[in-house]
């Protein structure tokens, strides 16, 4: 019902000599209800895939399918009711002059919900913020609380797919686990499909069942979390990533 299919997706910015190919021929599928991770270093094109799906990157070719529907160049409100996104930096993704209540009730109004008061309350409960946070402004919230508000905003239209663009990389280490566990709980509760972008293998291992590893705009390898935990990777770049994630290795240091 809410599976995601990417078929030979290429995304580029600019034209002619200044053209930059951010994503080249990416093909992968996220089954309905699954949690899929995209891993890679900065600039490998992983966030660009999310932006292309959301319609924020206009120049793309190939095929993107959400559920049974093939996406065209424009997205309508029905699409945004089905697919939502949580941004990386909670300090930049909340309007500085809108209170939590304003943010959530505006989104609910946009999607034509009626019982806004009750729903705002329920959304705040969902993300673990008490009613005391309802009328606060972003500058009165911590980073983790802001990200919870951003998650509540993404959940407001009751989507079936949630795109997570490094949802914890701007947060304190102590808060990261809280937010990740919250996201895991929400996925079970609302039966969501996750497409998660991260450069942190630990986050992906904690959140996802399978992953695609990206380098320079191309998917170099797909592997399951079990493969990843067992360090069973074929592509040298993936091996390199896994090694660097497993911490300090004296043998590797000596080899250098």
């Amino acid at each position: 019902m809410s599976r995601l299919v990417f078929n030979d997706l290429s995304v580029w910015f600019g034209e002619g000599a200044s053209r930059v190919d951010a994503v080249r021929h990416a093909t992968f599928e996220v089954p309905s209800g699954a949690s899929f991770g995209l891993v890679g270093e900065s600039g490998s094109g992983k966030s660009t895939i999310l932006r292309a799906l959301m319609g924020l990157a206009p120049d793309w070719s190939g095929e993107m399918i959400v559920g049974e529907q093939r996406l065209g160049p424009k997205r309508n409100r029905a699409f945004y009711k089905q697919v939502q996104m949580v941004f990386q930096d909670p300090y930049a993704s909340l309007h500085p002059r809108h209170s939590v209540d304003q943010v959530l009730s505006e989104v609910l109004k946009l999607h034509g919900f009626r019982d806004i008061n009750r729903r705002v309350q329920a959304l705040l409960d969902d993300v673990g913020l008490g009613p005391g946070f309802r009328f606060r402004y972003p500058h009165q919230l911590s980073g983790g609380q802001r990200q919870r508000v951003a998650i509540a905003r993404a959940l407001a239209p009751e989507p079936s797919v949630l795109l997570l663009d490094e949802p914890t990389s701007a947060l304190d280490v102590s808060v990261q686990a809280e937010v990740l566990n919250l996201l895991n709980d929400l996925r079970e509760e609302h039966r969501l499909t996750y497409l998660l972008v991260s450069h942190d293998l630990a986050v992906v291992a904690h959140m996802c069942q399978s992953t695609a590893v990206m380098q320079n705009g191309e998917i170099v390898e797909m592997l399951t979390v079990e493969d990843m935990r067992a360090m069973r990777a074929r592509h040298p770049y993936t091996c390199h990533l896994l090694e660097s994630a497993s911490g300090y290795n004296p043998n590797a240091a000596q080899a250098l």
Binding site: Y80, A92, H95, P96, R97, S99, D101, L110, G132, F135
Partner: protein, 313 residues
Amino acid sequence: MNRQDISRNPDDPRLGFRAWLLTDTPSSRLHARCVAFYAGWLKLRSNTMAMVGLGILILLVLVAAFAPWLAPHDPLAQNLAGRLQPPLSESHLLGTDSLGRDILSRLIYGSRITLYIVALVALIAPIAGLLVGTIAGYAGGIVDAILMRITDIFLAFPRLVLALAFVAALGAGIENAVLAISITAWPPYARLARAETLTIRNSDYISAIRLQGAGPIRIITRHIWPLCTSSLIVRVTLDMAGVILAAAGLGFLGLGAQPPSPEWGAMIAEGRRFILDSWWVATMPGLAIFTVSLAFNLLGDGLRDVLDPKEGG
């Protein structure tokens, strides 16, 4: 109850209105807005010069509102026998002008005209500039190019000369002076609003609301305008001095308020002929213009500190 209890228990109803205004956990939309407003007011209040400016402006409004009760004489009543009396003379605190009219009364009634001009320009110019600037900044491309080139054309003329041309075309009078000043005053606002819009447009929170299916009109009016208005308000208060001077300048040149009306610029123009032997005729309205301009500048400086959107409030 000692101090510590107070800080521990902000919702205690016994603490009253002030605690209600300072709470961290507002209980309704209105409450949240009051708290934000009160925090801004506290910040503005700590700026002494801004409060001096605000005080002068409140005084100006009160004087304008109660002019008939405050003015000792009819501002238009002539008395040729008592013309050009110096300040502090009998029953004329600030003296009389060349037709024997009481200068203090004329200044008091003139404050109405000044406020009228300031209020109208402060409404027309920033709103026009905000509309043009945000549309240009958000739409981009050809719309941006056309709107900003029109703005450039208006900016290419010296302000007073352009205002003179408009008044000459429309006919002399206070309404036309206001219109002419507004027409020449909006381009800087448009530029400011466009620059703000360009920095806001690509931010994550605009993307986020766009991903909820919001259209461009909602994004501009609900999400971009609130962030532009604070810098525009500051700019308006700082510009008001210039507007008063431009209105006075038009009055001085005989293209603004027409002779019997006690507009401050026109009063200076009348006093010009006697400036060597009756200095007070031109000096008193000059001092009034100076004071009000200064007050607007002081308040603008204070507001800039309070409303700075970069501080996240």
